[in-house]
């Protein structure tokens, strides 16, 4: 029996194991929406297409599966660009379906036409315009394969209206054949041996772990190896959760707002093992003074990441999980050397311990609520529960990174590469859809939350009990901090003098709104928020001009930090 394009799309999604679709309808995809109730897919109607992609992205980060979004043509499609770019920069597997005008009208400036394949070419891993219904099953199969394999990323499929209506015999391909695409999963054995040898000669080794470790589910083996060899571990913003921050070997995060000990340890290391990390400029600071004495071993599935920013001495292209497993095997085979090695850098660990004592992440408690205090309290109150924390962008993001102790992968969702304000809330919704019973918290700024605040309606409609914790400083805080430090306190366009009453706003949407203005209220307010099984928005009125420290001024080496 023949099926329509719309039926083929939905059936293919079912075959791919998709359970949730985040979307927004329109004329170009109305046929698809018409079929939707006949399939075992739960569709979540968001209030803005950008949020559909962020939600799919949050779902993907929290689960490790492919997130799916569905939107209409023209403005629906263009609204997805920020979501796609966000997922692209952080290598998140997402498949986005966009509607398109009928093939006969493409290129004619038809109503609600946009060349979305052209627009999104630089911010997708790959994209497709489907011109014939018969191509549809193959393209969907390929799209999911491309999104989740190799270095993951977003894939867009543009669906002209007539393709959704046309019919063909449906046969979903078993496998894909893409001549030019075959990611390297297994690290080169020779390089691996070289790396292990170099590592076991190190006096001051450091593991520098990035988001790739989480994407390839390598946190377990990395932790095992680090503990076995007694190697201190620092993670990037994207790598938070890949190594338990409660562990004595944890250095915390490195980079622009990294810990003193992490930045010093990297600077003084003699062997630096970069694991699924890409030497982003927010991490390295001034490049010629980044780990100047270190032999750098770089493990990454994407060859373009290697030697792009820093010169790498031992590159290993491969899946981080596979490579680290093999390293573990090699180390086990050399158990004696490994044992000696682990014992031989006590001095190094002692030095790190001293750095840790010298400059702890800290803040000065005052009469007003300090944002760091709120994050600390969240950490304290949820210990053992492993909530999923998402963030917006700015100071809130950095405090959420610094003052919460992440112990498990996929519990931290944050827009690292693109730094997208408005990401956190919809991403939290996506994570909550995946894990209805877990506590999901969006740590937000008063600026960022207003970028996708309309999703409160989505949260209420689908009873997604996400907790939004606004660290309300009345400023676009992170920009204000730069203005304070580097532009003589010239607060140009960073003061928000008109801010909605967030409590009333939450209530207007049918969610719960809470507010706290004094430090004494923080704990009880958080407890209350966490105990309500509904979407809750908490407005914490915090110190207006608090800064994130340590801070490495742009263009400086990471060892030159401004401390509290």
């Amino acid at each position: 029996m023949k099926k329509t394009g719309a039926q083929i799309v939905l059936q293919s999604l079912q075959i791919e194991g998709v359970k949730a679709v985040f979307g927004y309808p329109g004329g170009a995809v109305i046929n698809l929406y018409d079929e939707l109730p006949n399939y075992e897919l739960k569709h979540y109607l968001v209030r803005h297409e950008q949020a559909a992609v962020h939600a799919a992205d949050g779902y993907a980060r929290a689960t490790g599966e492919v997130g799916v979004a569905l939107v209409t043509s023209g403005p629906g499609a263009t609204n997805t660009v920020t979501g796609l770019a966000t997922a692209y920069m952080d290598s998140i597997p997402v498949v986005v379906f966009t509607g398109q005008v009928p093939t006969a009208l493409i290129g004619n400036d038809a109503f609600q036409e946009a060349d979305i394949v052209g627009i999104t070419r630089p911010c997708t891993k790959h994209n497709y315009l489907v011109k014939d219904v018969r191509e549809l099953p193959r393209i969907i199969k390929e799209a999911f394969h491309i999104a989740r394999s190799g270095r993951p990323g977003p894939v867009l499929i543009d669906l002209p209206k007539d393709v959704l209506v046309d019919t063909t015999i449906f046969e979903y391909p078993e496998s894909v054949s893409l001549r030019g695409y075959s990611p390297t999963y297994e690290g080169h054995p020779g390089q691996l041996r070289k790396a292990v040898r170099a590592l076991l000669k190190a006096k001051r080794p450091v593991f520098y772990v990035g988001g790739g470790a989480i994407l390839s589910n390598a946190a377990g083996v990395i932790t095992e190896l680090a503990v076995r060899l007694q190697i201190p571990v620092t993670t990037t913003l994207m790598g938070l959760g890949a190594f338990p921050e409660t562990h004595a070997l944890s250095l915390g995060m490195l980079g622009m707002h990294g810990t003193y000990r992490a930045n010093m340890a990297v600077t003084e290391s003699d062997v630096l093992v970069a694991i699924g990390a890409r030497f982003d400029d927010r991490v390295t600071g001034r490049i010629d003074e980044f780990a100047p004495d270190a032999k750098i071993i770089h493990i990454d599935i994407d060859p373009t990441s290697i030697s792009k920013n820093v010169k790498v001495h031992i590159p290993i292209v491969g899946d981080v999980h596979d490579v680290m497993n093999k390293m573990m095997v090699a180390v086990n085979e050399m158990s004696e050397e490994a044992h000696e090695f682990a014992a031989s850098h006590d001095e190094w660990l002692a030095r790190i311990a001293k750095w840790k004592e010298m400059h702890k992440l800290d803040y000065i408690q005052e009469e007003v609520i300090k944002p760091q205090y709120v994050v600390e309290k969240i950490c304290e109150l949820t210990r053992g529960q492993q909530p999923i924390i998402s963030t917006e962008v700015g100071q809130n993001q950095m405090w959420a990174a610094q003052f919460y102790e992440y112990t498990k992968p996929r519990t931290w969702l944050s827009s690292g590469g693109l730094g997208t304000m408005g990401y956190g809330f919809p991403a939290a919704l996506g994570a909550q859809v995946a894990f209805p019973d877990r506590l999901v918290i969006d740590i937000a700024g008063d600026g960022s939350i207003q970028m996708n605040i309309q999703e409160l309606a989505t949260a209420v409609q689908y009873r997604l009990p996400v907790k939004i914790i606004i660290l309300n400083n009345g400023y676009l805080g992170m920009v204000r901090q730069w203005q304070e430090l580097f532009f003589q306190k010239h607060y140009s366009a960073t003061e928000m003098s008109a801010v909605p009453d967030f409590v009333k706003l939450a209530e207007a949407y049918g969610a719960v709104g809470l507010r706290a203005t004094r430090p004494q209220e923080v704990e009880s307010t958080l407890k209350k928020a966490f105990s309500i099984n509904k979407p809750v928005l908490v407005d914490f009125v915090v110190a207006g001009e608090e800064n994130v420290y340590p801070m490495v001024p742009a263009g400086q080496p990471i060892s030159k930090m401004l401390l509290v």
Binding site: R121, P122, I146, P303, T304, K308
Partner: protein, 166 residues
């Protein structure tokens, strides 16, 4: 440094713009780009001439390889290869110049493909050096228009070190 890069791609909609977009999006330079179907209609071959130091060219080749529709990337620079380009030149041939130009054409093994009262269109193929030399000698006569294909390249079968090169 100048590099000639060959790219074998799937002959699919949008591939050319993916590749040119990669260059412009990352601030890489394209000096010339040629593309045409191969004997296999599912595959096209591109020849891209680009400028950049070793690190940039390494990034270019890696990034090209990363594109889903790219099958193979070859940097010809370090291999024994031949290059050719086709150029059409419209040159002024008024009065006595006409004979002189015709002589030159013979020396360069070029061909006249259109002759009018005041100008001629000449076709020439060769490597870049030859094309450039031809333009240099024609220049004094008054070049009116040039159109060139850019360079295509191919590896030699036998890698004879002392072989005569053209």
């Amino acid at each position: 440094m100048r590099h000639i890069i060959g790219v074998l791609v799937e002959n699919k909609f949008g591939v050319l713009s993916r590749i040119s977009g990669l260059f412009s999006g990352r601030g890489f330079n394209i000096e010339s780009l040629t593309v045409a179907e191969t004997d296999d209609p599912a595959i096209s071959r591109m020849t891209i001439v680009t400028l950049g130091d070793d690190q940039i060219v390494e990034q270019i080749t890696k990034q090209l390889n990363k594109l889903i529709n790219v099958i193979k990337v070859i940097d010809f620079t370090d291999t024994d290869h031949v290059t050719r380009g086709l150029m059409l030149v419209k040159v002024s041939v008024e009065g006595s110049k006409r004979l002189e130009v015709l002589k030159l054409i013979e020396v360069f093994r070029a061909r006249v493909i259109d002759m009018a009262a005041k100008s001629a269109i000449i076709e020439i193929t060769g490597n870049e050096m030859k094309l450039k030399a031809f333009l240099d000698v024609l220049a004094p006569y008054g070049i009116k228009e040039i159109n060139s294909t850019g360079i295509v390249a191919m590896n030699r079968e036998v890698k004879a070190r002392n072989r005569y090169k053209t």
